[in-house]
């Protein structure tokens, strides 16, 4: 039994013409404690809906989510969320946005204790000094997302949900904050579930990537293990023999197979197929040699 187990989750919405639209059906997968899992898929496949169900902000049409063996319903401090649009309270300073969460988590703490704890997590994402007293409107997009990440980590939830946290940031800022996220994450045993659109981001951060087919009737088709050892570094992982093999597999899936596999209703328990690509291992472990790169980038 996994730490977090999602069992036969189905979501349907009225399609506006009297019928029902099935976004995803019988999605089942598990996440282990301390694991960093990314979910990749095209828009409309229901990634955000899955996230909202895990956060307890939405109810599935059917299926259950169990954490530590208990069914999950409604939002809880055990499941922290970092929203794409930061969702900082604009009338509070960066520091108070973090203390807001810590106070809710630890009602018994003194003011000084709450503030010290909050400042510690803000400094982990590189926010120190006077900048913590600024209001979100006086911070750049990158800084706002740092505050949001600090708020989530400071609460030390059992499960941290990240909903495309870097989607609204420019590529350079995104890189910096990915590094900070890795840094703050590696110091904890935090279990993370993250939605992303960015393949490289997913490879850099995740232990495992879940691949979703296109909707309607989307499903979690594959679970790809990232066989690149940690600690990872964005400039070094691209040198790893597995990097392009994994990347090509993901690109192939999103570009072609997510469409081919889409659209078929099914009643089985749609457990994802585990894919392990490891070019450093002996040859028989090779999963899909046809996706292995024959050529590297032109400049190489």
């Amino acid at each position: 039994m996994s730490f977090l187990s999602i069992e036969r989750l189905t979501q349907q919405f009225p399609d506006g013409q009297g019928g029902m639209l099935t976004v995803f059906e019988n999605a089942s997968f598990g996440i282990e404690k301390g694991e960093f899992v990314c979910i990749l898929g095209h828009s409309g496949c229901g990634k955000s809906t899955i996230m909202n169900i895990l956060a307890g902000l939405a109810e599935p049409s059917s299926g259950v989510v169990k954490m530590d063996g208990f069914g999950v319903s409604g939002p809880s401090l055990d499941r922290g969320v970092v929203f794409q649009n930061y969702s900082l309270l604009p009338w509070l300073s960066a520091l108070h946005n973090v203390t807001f969460g810590v106070k809710a988590r630890e009602p018994g703490w003194s003011k000084a204790q709450v503030e010290e704890h909050s400042r510690k997590f803000l400094s982990m994402v590189g926010l120190e000094g006077d900048v913590v007293h600024r209001k979100p409107s006086q911070l750049s997009g990158g800084m706002r997302q740092r505050v949001s990440i600090a708020r989530a980590f400071a609460n030390q939830p059992k499960l941290l949900l990240l909903d495309e946290p870097f989607g609204a940031l420019d590529a350079l800022t995104r890189g910096t904050i990915q590094d900070e996220l890795l840094k703050i994450w590696s110091g904890t045993e935090q279990t993370v579930f993250m939605i992303t659109h960015d393949i490289d981001e997913a490879i850099l951060l995740a232990d495992r990537i879940l691949l979703m087919t296109n909707g309607p009737f989307a499903k979690v088709a594959e679970s790809v293990e990232i066989t690149i050892p940690r600690p990872r570094n964005r400039t070094e992982i691209i040198e790893h023999p597995n990097y392009y093999a994994i990347r090509n597999h993901l690109v192939q899936f999103l570009g072609k197979r997510s469409k081919e596999l889409a659209g078929q209703p099914s009643d089985g328990d749609n457990k994802p197929v585990t894919v392990r690509i490891d070019k450093t291992a002996p040859a028989e472990a090779e999963a899909e040699p046809e996706h292995a790169p024959k050529l590297r980038a032109v400049n190489d």
Binding site: G56, F83, P90, W91, F100, A104
Partner: protein, 278 residues
């Protein structure tokens, strides 16, 4: 030289010159009261020497203002009280009615804003009651309450409740879903969500409603006091009109404007205090 002055200074200079020019034109346009000595015997016999009522020149109003403002709180009987006392009565009535209205409108507005059912249930009543001129309530209030003082306060209450109610409901209903979700994922209870998330998020809209209400209340109190009489700045204006003392009428009009401005600027400060940028 104009180019070196800041925008504010130039505006102030322009304001002052408009005021001075306006006052000079006004002063010059009022024909001076002819001295009795210059009149013919016939004119004196026909009453030409008696002081005629007329719009007073600004100089007279300044003299009057100086007189009144140097002793604003004297009380020489029911028909002769200082301007400070009259304004005090009006402010007392406005604030009592206003705070009663706020005490009902803001919690009720919260409820209406948070619940779609409550919104739909209350909306027809609000839509019918809101456009009623507050003074139309006066006869009913006088009959039921049997007290002119309380009736005036009731009229203030009924006119200031609507903007506060509607703005509170609107502000609360418009709080971003994301912020509510932040409260939910932090397991905040209903009361804590209301006070730590919804109230600060809706505060600018609520204060705007309160500002509109105080403006309307101050407009209405003058008319209400003209009706109920006794004390207050509205009564004062009407009383001086009956006395044909136009100098006092103009002076009190100015005072109504000044007090209204002060009330409004208090809310401007409050608005600034709760404003936030997204």
């Amino acid at each position: 030289m104009m180019g070196t002055l800041s925008e504010n200074r130039r505006a102030a200079l322009l304001s002052v010159s408009m005021l001075v020019i306006g006052l000079l034109i006004w002063e010059a346009a009022i024909p001076a009261q002819q001295a009795a000595g210059e009149l013919t015997e016939y004119e004196l016999l026909t009453g030409g020497g008696a002081p005629k009522a007329g719009v007073p020149p600004p100089s007279e109003i300044f003299t009057k203002a100086w007189e009144e403002l140097s002793n604003p709180f004297y009380d020489a009987g029911p028909n002769d009280k200082g301007i400070g006392i009259q304004i005090g009565y009006s402010i007392y009535r406005v604030l009592s009615g206003y705070f009663m209205a706020a005490a009902i409108a803001i919690p009720l507005g919260f409820l209406i804003g948070m619940s779609a059912v409550a919104y739909k249930a209350f909306n027809p009543f609000i839509q019918v009651l809101r456009p009623i001129s507050p003074l139309a309530w006066m006869p009913l209030a006088l009959f039921i309450i049997q007290d002119s003082e309380l009736s005036a306060i009731f009229v203030i209450f009924i006119c200031s409740i609507w903007p506060m109610l509607i703005n509170t409901a609107f502000g609360v209903a418009g709080v971003r879903k994301d912020w509510i979700n932040v409260a939910r994922t932090h397991e905040l209870g209903a009361m804590r969500t209301a006070f730590t998330v919804i109230l600060p998020a809706a505060a600018p809209t609520i204060i705007t409603g309160m500002r509109i209400s105080i403006g309307i209340a101050w407009l209405v109190i003058v008319a209400a006091e003209m009706l109920v009489g006794g004390t207050g700045i509205g009564y004062y204006v009407w009383n001086e009109w009956n006395n044909l003392d136009l100098t006092s009428v103009i002076f009190s009009i100015l005072m109504i404007g000044v007090v209204g401005m002060v009330l409004d600027s208090i809310f401007t400060l409050a608005q600034r205090a709760v404003a936030y940028a997204e």
